[in-house]
């Protein structure tokens, strides 16, 4: 399995990358870490004329604090989510999710931007963008714009990015001292895509759950926010009753695909189990 022949460009700026993409008249692909794209090219699911490598663009690099937001450049690697002190301190859900993303060698190469641009509904990081209330910075024809995660994920592999646009950075609201979080997933084997997974970011409110965001993955065509479960849990002490109520509410939040390996009712059941585990993991006290 080999990729079809293509021309290769390695621009230094966003403008040049955009121009290279445009010159190919709809027959180009951007490449970041390549950990999803290269297999797709090898299997000829895609066969672009031009590959535009984003690796040389400085604007896509770096992790830094900007006021109350953490800016994570799109080219930041999965492995950095485990080690970068700013990500560990201010976006702990990403650090918690990272060990579950593929295998160590893939994490050395895959990028957070690539994962969020691809928006695989079974992927960990896109769902965590939703749980964290992140904003995606996108370079388009009118320059840079920021799209909140709630508006960014639109349908299966469909995001607010239109072809030719570039995901520049992920902006994550920094976690304050009253925040707590939980991440978990259920997979058949280590490193496999999860049957279901999710994360919670919550405010502590004197032993009760304050404002919170819950996001699941592998439970529908996009990463999904569990708004009904959020509403049930807000203001509650996270006891067995609260968890049972939230588990009932969760049914309305998710839309699992019916596939042969994991039928939809099983995914619904696993999502309930996972929600219980996540809430119990929250350090609300």
């Amino acid at each position: 399995m080999k990729a079809r022949a293509f021309a290769y460009a390695r621009p230094r700026t966003l403008d040049d990358a955009h121009a290279a993409f445009a010159a190919a008249e709809g027959d180009a692909s951007y490449i970041s870490g390549g950990q999803s794209l290269v297999p797709a090219l090898a299997m000829r699911l895609q066969a672009p004329q031009v590959l535009v490598d984003l690796a040389g663009i400085e604007a896509l690099r770096g992790v830094r604090l900007e006021g109350d937001w953490l800016r994570i450049g799109a080219l930041t690697r999965h492995a950095d989510a485990l080690t970068d002190p700013l990500i560990r301190a201010h976006a702990p859900l990403l650090s918690a999710a990272a060990p579950f993303v593929a295998h160590p060698a893939i994490r050395n190469r895959g990028t957070l931007g690539g994962s969020v641009a691809l928006a695989d509904p079974a992927s960990e990081f896109p769902a965590m963008m939703l749980a964290m209330g992140a904003e995606m910075e996108i370079f388009g024809p009118e320059g840079l714009r920021r799209v909140p995660a709630d508006d960014y994920f639109q349908d299966l592999y469909q995001t607010a990015i239109v072809p030719g646009e570039i995901l520049v950075a992920l902006h994550v609201p920094v976690v304050g001292p009253r925040r707590c979080w939980a991440f978990d997933e259920l997979a058949r084997r280590r490193g496999d895509y999860a049957m279901v997974g999710g994360g919670i970011l919550a405010e502590r409110d004197g032993g009760r759950i304050g404002a919170l965001r819950i996001a699941f993955f592998s439970v529908g065509p996009t990463p999904m926010r569990a708004r009904a479960a959020e509403a049930v849990l807000t203001g509650r002490v996270p006891d067995a009753d609260a968890i049972a109520d939230a588990q009932r509410a969760l049914d309305a939040d998710i839309d699992p695909l019916d596939d042969e390996e994991v039928p939809a009712p099983m995914r619904r059941h696993l999502a309930r189990v996972l929600l219980g585990r996540l809430v119990r993991k929250l350090e609300i006290a």
Partner: protein, 165 residues
């Protein structure tokens, strides 16, 4: 139309410590570049989709799948293959532990296992068996059942520790 001709592209990088300059077709993976262009055939190619781990090499010091990287992406990069690790004696301990513990049968997976095990031991200390299994979670072996491989890596880590490395 195309902003560049889809011919060969000049590529300069360092492989096993030596500078390499070639013209390459953009669709050539690093795995194919190493094997066919440089005749470094220790790096094996199994699935060509990141699933089996036979093709692992060190790229700027970190293990990556050479089947999931195009050579043209590596201008200025440092690549080290199993041949390089052997030549500089970096995996002598692992090699003898694999030998002593019978940690291979057909040997197809072994180069990838060695690259990954080397990266794991570079972190220092003696990893526990769960850590070893986790590190190898992307490496398939169709022969051994992994037990002997985990034994060998654990033994090599202990030996390195004992010798004060």
């Amino acid at each position: 139309m195309n902003m560049m001709a889809s011919g060969l592209v000049p590529l300069n990088l360092t492989v096993n410590g030596a500078p390499v300059g070639r013209m390459v077709a953009p669709r050539t993976t690093l795995a194919d570049f190493l094997r066919t262009e440089l005749e470094l055939t220790a790096t094996h190619v199994g699935c060509e989709m990141g699933a089996c781990g036979a093709c692992l090499v060190l790229l700027d010091g970190a293990p990556v799948h050479s089947c999931l990287v195009f050579a043209v992406q590596l201008e200025g990069a440092q690549v080290e293959t199993v041949e390089g690790l052997v030549a500089r004696g970096a995996i002598a301990g692992l090699q003898s532990a694999f030998h002593e513990r019978n940690a291979l049968q057909c040997g197809f997976c072994t180069p990838g296992m060695l690259v990954n095990a080397h990266a794991l031991l570079e972190r220092g200390g003696v990893p526990d068996r769960a850590e070893i299994r986790d590190a190898l979670s992307g490496n398939y072996c169709r022969c051994t059942g992994y037990e002997a491989i985990v034994d060998a890596i654990e033994a090599a880590a202990r030996a390195a520790q004992g010798s004060g490395r």
